[in-house]
Amino acid sequence: MNLQDFLSSLTKRGGGDRERTPLPDDLESAVRQVDGNVDLIGVFAASAEAAGARVRRTSGADWLTAIAGILGDLDATRICTQAAEVGFLSRARSAELSEHLRDSGMTVSTDTGDDELFSADASITGVSAAIAETGTVVCESGPNAARGASLIPPVHVAVVGAAQIIPDLCDYFEQLPGGPELPANVNLITGPSKTADIEGTLVTGVHGPGKLFIVVVATAS
Amino acid sequence: MTVALFVTCVSDTFCPRVGEAVVRVLRHCGCDVRFPARQTCCGQPAYNSGFHSEAAELARRMIAIFEPYEYVVTPSASCAMMVRQHYPQLLADEPGWRKAADRLAAKTYEFTSFLREVPEFDVSANLRFNEAVTFHYPCHAREFYSARDLEALLSRVPGVDLRTPRPVDLCCGFGGIFAVDHAEISGAMMGDKLESLSQTGAGLVICDEGGCALNLAGGAHRRGTSLRFRHIAECLAESLGLMEAEE
């Protein structure tokens, strides 16, 4: 069946004389909860923690040791990172990170094939944005940015540049491109994977990562 | 001001004392109270059951009966809602009646809303309770006041020991003909409500809706629960010394 035939069950009946509701244009004044005049890092950290993520606030000097510390505490040895440049994790910083982790005795792979992802203890990704209102980190698909990287390993470490934090959920959707630049897969991640299906008891890590660490890096610039 | 009392079929039959209390409190507030004797039922049972032409017949009748009066006051939020909301809808296609329905809707009040808005009588300040008290928020009062409003009104009563039930706005399961057609469900809902009221530990329940009171009191009697149900008009009339306290 084609579109026009399909729509004919609507268009034939029209209901044309009915009063039609206009599309509201000003959404923001009602929807916005957080504006730029607040301590964005503080709001972000509080919201993310409330959603069950663990947030580490670091500086340009100690973010590497912070990540190594998180992974070390978990006894994680097999680590996946992304080859892509995403947000704060530029190619240079990714290389720096890998080197640092290897120096700490971990195995680091930038390959995000199934074998790596399904056997990794943790993954580390950059994010394309972070939302203060909800404590959300955003991962977009792309070349070398696998959908599975923030999803399959049991621990996800998201690295956020402090400048990437935007105030409100509506800010994210406002800036999202509509054309071909719109990634095929975007994930807004708010806390670790959760279920409360069994008698309402909260359990984390049902399918996605059971632990989400967010490392916020406030660089001097 | 002249106020016509719409006592409602339930109060007329089962709890005339509520009507009496409303009359006495309204008179206390300086109202000239009338009782149009031809009144019966607002038609809500028919309306809610989907018998809308039947409901419209009763609506036209009610409109004609109450047309001459300045205000119409009823102890039932549910019947007030029927008149104010559904009469104009029911008669939407009959321009003459629709206008008359709008007029009636505009001058019809639920009892406490009337006291607050017209004679501006302070209900809280004039109430007294000599025991712990809880309340049933009638679902159809939503049109007029929220459960939180009712809670606030009662909490301002001097010296009150108010016990708020949880959840504050739980339905009692009455629902008119629903209580008979689906007695099983209705009874289960009533059980939940009685339990939440009992859990407050208060013995006196303010219940401003005749149907809800009939349902809950009937359930309490069946279960041997010692809850007593009073309309706020009765409590006011007693507090003001306009009526003897009941047993």
């Binding site: 959404l27 959908r147 | 059951s49 008979v180 809902m189 009533m190």
Partner: protein, 469 residues
């Protein structure tokens, strides 16, 4: 008035099942509180609700236009769109996609629309074994049960039943610990995800402007379903479309709060076409199945606003009827207040007249609904459409009642007759009412009306009293 209809028989059984009633009470009351707390976080949730209602209503009022745009956008991004005028067509389309490509390992994320069309049975009929991967749906599937809530499918089950089903079907050790049970399911499903080739999901919102599918989930199985297999099929009702990307936050801020009290679901996934050429992973094919299946009939009639529903489940949680009879009693995949509307509207000849009648019209659903569907009012309108289907006795009783209410004299006689007919148990109460009042006195007593009605008191004394009492 006796428990004669199938619905009433199911109700009788449901009310008597104390275990389920208790489980549903606990879960729904908890969710009501969570929802209220979630809404209180918002500056002005009433305003957001109004916007959500308006955006959705607008979309419906211009539905053909938005569907056209939506389809064009998806196709522009390399996705395929299929049109299913009814459930049968939807089932056939999906089965064809699977069989024509030789796809065998089918995973599903939770989708009420797929439940609505009984997709699993259709897939099984062509030799496939779709695996439900949402934890609740997975348990429903292995226990050969059906969901009883649109968000929390196993709200009716306790951990003992779940433990038994897992032990029996998965051969694992018996445990009642929710974390352990969850981890057993995780391990089991992980292997399936690793090797699947077809993923079937529902859709929460379809953005017309960009052809984007928005899917809101908490567990991660939804993400796995739409990113692991080679082919992703998304089944969506035509009412799921919204105009613009920037409309999404209006709904996202309400959806999870209304469902569980969370500000957002853990994962909000936006899918705009299949995997791009250079993408590291993702499905090579994206198929969107747009389904009507009775929706255009609802759309064309007076119940259009029902299609605003975003399936948050808040009306179920708020409903004191649902709380006492659970989801299965409704005899439909959509239970609760929204189900009492949707089920008879989607299946007008299905004999569901009793569903809209089984409500006290307390209005808790309408207050909770994030898109402001006036559920109680619509229930009454639906009752009005079917009032002729009441048994003759009931219709005659209604006429007699009307006749009595039109005459003050008959009304007074009726009051007296009632007094005469009620048997006083000795303390002013009747415990066994006559005729239609028998049902009234099933769960409760009826007071014997006082000798003097209000009108009698008025006439005798009140009318003559001095104004000052």
């Amino acid at each position: 008035m006796s428990a004669s209809t199938p619905f009433q028989q199911r109700v009788a059984a449901a009310v008597a099942d104390k275990r389920v009633v208790r489980a549903v009470h606990l879960a729904t009351l908890k969710k009501v509180e969570a929802r209220e707390a979630g809404m209180d976080q918002l500056r002005d949730f009433e305003q957001i609700r109004s916007l959500a209602a308006q955006v959705k209503q607008h979309t419906l009022d211009y539905l053909p236009r938005y569907l056209e745009q939506f389809v064009e956008q998806i196709e522009g991004r390399g996705g395929a769109v299929h049109f299913a005028p009814d459930a049968e067509a939807a089932r056939r389309i999906i089965c064809d996609i699977a069989t024509s490509r030789g796809l065998k390992r089918v995973v599903k994320s939770k989708s009420m629309t797929s439940e609505e069309i009984h997709l699993n049975q259709a897939l099984e009929a062509v030799g496939l074994r779709p695996v439900e991967t949402d934890l609740g749906e997975f348990i429903v599937q292995i226990d050969h049960d059906t969901p009883s809530h649109i968000v929390t499918p196993i709200i009716h089950k306790d951990r003992r039943q779940i433990a038994l089903a897992m032990q029996r079907e998965l051969g694992c050790e018996y445990t009642e610990d929710p974390t352990e049970l969850t981890m057993i399911a995780r391990r089991h499903l992980r292997e399936i995800f690793r090797n699947c080739d077809l993923g079937i999901s529902g859709v929460n919102f379809g953005v017309a402007e960009t052809g984007t599918l928005c899917i809101c989930t908490n567990e991660g199985n939804g993400r796995l379903t739409v990113s692991r297999p080679r082919v992703h099929v998304a089944l969506m009702g035509i009412e799921k479309v919204i105009p613009r990307m920037r409309d999404l936050p209006v709904f996202l801020k309400l959806l999870a709060r209304s469902s569980t009290g969370q500000p957002l679901t853990v994962y909000t996934t936006l899918i705009s076409g299949p995997k791009r050429l250079q993408d590291a992973d993702g499905p090579e094919e994206l198929h969107v199945v747009l389904m009507d299946a009775g929706r255009s009939d609802i759309w064309a009639g007076e119940f259009r606003e029902v299609l605003r529903c975003i399936r948050c489940g808040a009306c179920l949680n708020a409903c004191p009827v649902y709380r006492n009879i659970g989801g299965h009693a409704y005899g439909s995949v959509y239970p609760g207040p929204i189900g009492a509307l949707l089920t008879p509207l989607l299946h007008p000849a299905g004999g569901h007249e009793e569903l809209p009648r089984a409500s006290s019209l307390c209005g808790a659903c309408g207050v909770a609904c994030p898109v402001k569907i006036d559920i109680p009012d619509l229930l009454v309108r639906l009752r009005a459409q079917t009032h002729r289907s009441h048994p003759l006795a009931k219709r005659v009783a209604m006429r007699m009642w009307l006749w009595a209410m039109k005459s003050p004299l008959v009304f007074r006689l009726g009051q007296r007759l009632l007094r005469g007919l009620l048997k006083d148990g000795g303390d002013g109460w009747a415990t066994d009412g006559p005729g239609p009042l028998r049902a009234w006195t099933q769960p409760r007593d009826l007071p014997i009306p006082p000798k003097r009605s209000f009108r009698a008191i008025w006439q005798a004394e009140l009318s003559n009293e001095d104004k000052r009492g």
